[in-house]
Symmetry: C2
Subunit: 477 residues, 2 copies
């Protein structure tokens, strides 16, 4: 019931295109990689056997993963999560706290912007018809009858032959329909010589040019950044209705876990996931609460889960499907609602779970306890869910096609995620290398990566120089 | 003393390539745009005169801006700022608070990762030589003498013909050098039939495979994201030395300003810059403190500046070179140190300032009070300074070349920044359109933009279809 990473001892592994589901191969055990001869895909050259196997992990893919009640596709598991994730109610926040969130109202301006006719730059407010004939050789002289400075109410009016000196943003005197830039004049004080006459309306900002009363200044769904905050303040809004950051509580399960501050005894490992997943949740836009290791005692465990539910829009637990004590966690979760644990056809991280807990049906996403698998699962399932709760239209990271610098193997029927380093190619496009030599669950390697390489379920081999899909892991991106 | 956006009445505006510094043009006044005939650049078609002029603002560029004591290039002003910006001392933070910052130490692991030999996946720990002959047709049978579960210290040892059932992450019994994946067996309890024998070392994680004691786990200068936090926790670090977020205090100057919560009287405008610039500073990675409008009273003004200096790594003031009352602000700044106010050859935002205040020489960056110019100036001068203080290697936003959907005009000798909308072109590459019809200081238009179009000093016209430099304004990017 095993189909291996592009390896086959039956010689009929097919053309490698499309999901290989020919029934001849179903139920036919396939020997592990070192047993196979040359890879029977696209006439590639033989691959020397590896000295030892560390990954990809050979999972019981039988070419029928979609149909199996035990193994489901990445898409199907993701669809279940996204369909069940609630949309938190919009809340009103101070504009600076709204930064990075999506506006949840159409902000209608009660004001005109600008609120009054004003000079767009420093110069002389004048009548266009007066200055129209001006030229460098035959300047037009005007009498300067006053000065209008930004911030002061200067209700001067001008008539023919008159001008008012203005600063940028200053009120325009009645009768003026143009501002002559100071640099086109002799900058006179009592009288000014104008060397050029701009057409009517030049360098004048009219009331409401930017925003008229009743205009919608910021629309529903607009991401609020510095420019939107500038506009909101300008129309008099210091608070705005937004889609809030979902509160994500992060927990770790596993009797082998000890806190980072403890010295692990033999067989114990440090709880890294509550830190790493809280960081990832925050990076995705959530308010993340690291709640640490779940207690081993069933009663205290249930208490922790219940109390954390109260402050969760989403609960994220790693390690519920492996290690000792996972049955205790599963039982505690079962008391609070239905959580379904499943094998998902992906590597790393097949052991996934999803449920809805408590009266409010708070979603709980369970990811593997192995730290690399936990962060990969976060990328695949949790980040899109958080972004959906934030109201983002773009749930998924951008992907690019990159040239693989090495041959990559992948188990048939499983979507594989490899950490890699993607670089721009000097001739354009991208080149990607896996980090380290394989798909080992190694934190030090993961920390050097800047992308995930995604190899689809129906691909068992990417030749060196072949194109592969790459998901750059830009922080905050 | 005016050279206009690719317009000239002298017919000798040159070839348009390189900065036009021929002395024949110096001191020769040039008429404003509507006076000029067809643009004398690269044989382009005539441009219809605009109905009214709003921008680019014609500034006193005389082709000698570098040499002039009054007007300096963008680069020179930026260089002065970057050279004077201090590097805040590294501080130790909890790992989750270190997220997004740069590591300021070489984190040497005192531990081995993994801390013990362990199974990389669920299966049976065995001796490679025992299982080597196994095949699907001729399985090898082993006696299962125990089980090793993750988190439990299981010092079982095995000899020839024996196996121990293991979970992923479980300690490997002594004598075992391979883990046979459960899916390659009959998953027996007392005895197990192995259908394939992986080579020695397969699916085994050896002590120190990931990180050996004495290894540098996270290096100086590494940005700390979820993967680094995972690794830091794994090596037992819950705190780490990082380059801190600079504290940026944001102030607005101008007697015309009222707070957003007030109703502006005629001639008054709302202070939007302290909000927008605080948001921009936070987006750039700073801890931003919005301190609001500077008081008009000289003594109180000085008090505010002095007290804010104490909590600033960088002070950011908008509106110090225009509006009424700017002389009061300049005088108050002069009491605290030297601040130099200059015309910088850019549009919008020529009025820029930079100084160092107080005993510690805290940098102060002064930007124009006009909100669009304030945010553009932030992008050009303040964001790189904040990123330098954060220790980032990449100070500047990425730029891309995009096809301009419209003809763009720009004043000679000035670098012009236009807000625009950049989109991917279906055939590859990018297309950009300016937002609105010109370079007006309009907040509503700015809020619709997703990029700045950058037109160099020596370019007076970009034809429709021509290439132009675009700086996408991705939040947090």
């Amino acid at each position: 019931m095993v189909r291996m990473s592009g390896h086959s001892d039956s010689g009929n592994s097919g053309g490698g295109s499309g999901v290989n589901r020919d029934t001849a191969q179903v139920d036919m055990p396939v020997a592990p990689p070192q047993r196979s001869g040359p890879i029977g895909v696209r006439g590639s050259t033989p691959v020397p056997p590896k000295p030892a196997l560390t990954g990809p992990v050979p999972l019981p893919a039988d070419g029928r993963s979609d149909a199996s009640p035990m193994v489901r596709t990445v898409e199907r598991h993701l669809d279940e999560i996204l369909a069940a994730v609630p949309q938190p109610d919009a809340i009103e926040l101070a504009v600076l706290d709204a930064q990075g969130l999506l506006c949840a109202e159409d902000v209608v301006s009660q004001r005109a912007l600008p609120a009054f006719d004003q000079a767009a730059l420093e110069g002389y407010a004048a009548r266009a018809e007066d200055v129209a004939p001006a030229s460098v050789r035959r300047p037009v002289e005007l009498a300067v009858v006053g000065e209008s400075v930004a911030g002061l109410d200067a209700p001067t009016a001008i008539g023919p032959g008159l001008a008012v000196k203005v600063s940028a943003g200053a009120m325009l005197p009645a009768g003026a329909d143009v501002v002559v830039p100071g640099v086109w004049t002799d900058n006179g004080t009592a009288r000014v010589a104008v060397q050029a006459g701009p057409p009517p309306g030049s360098y004048v900002r009219r009331t409401g040019d930017d925003v008229a009363p009743g205009d919608s200044a910021v629309h529903v769904g607009t991401p609020i950044g510095p420019a939107q905050i500038s506009l909101l303040a300008a129309v008099g809004r210091d608070r705005v209705l937004v889609r809030p950051r979902p509160r994500v509580v992060v927990l770790s399960a596993g009797s082998e876990l000890v806190d980072v501050t403890a010295a692990p005894a033999p067989g114990q490992v440090v709880d890294v996931n509550s830190y790493a997943l809280a960081a990832a949740a925050r990076d995705a836009g959530a308010d993340a609460y690291r709640s640490g290791i779940l207690p081993a005692d069933p009663r205290r465990l249930s208490e922790v889960l219940e109390s954390q539910l109260l402050r969760s829009d989403l609960m994220l637990i790693s390690g519920t499907l492996s290690g000792s004590g996972f049955d205790v966690v599963q039982e505690a979760l079962a008391q609070l609602g239905e959580t379904r644990f499943r094998q998902v056809a992906m590597h790393p991280g097949p052991a996934q779970g999803f449920g809805q807990l408590g009266r409010d049906g708070v979603p709980v996403i369970c990811v593997p306890g192995e730290p690399v698998a936990a962060l990969v699962s976060f990328e695949v399932f949790v980040r899109p869910a958080i972004r959906l709760m934030l109201g983002k239209r773009q749930l998924f990271r951008r992907t690019v096609q990159a040239i693989s610098g090495q041959q990559l193997l992948s188990p048939l029927g499983y979507r594989q995620y490899l950490h890699g380093t993607v670089m721009r190619h000097p001739d354009g496009g991208y080149v990607v290398e896996p980090v380290g030599d394989a798909t080992d669950a190694l934190l030090a390697r993961m920390a050097r990566a800047n992308c995930l390489i995604v190899i689809d379920e129906d691909v068992t081999e990417v030749a060196a120089g072949g194109l592969v899909t790459v998901m750059p892991l830009l922080l905050g991106g």
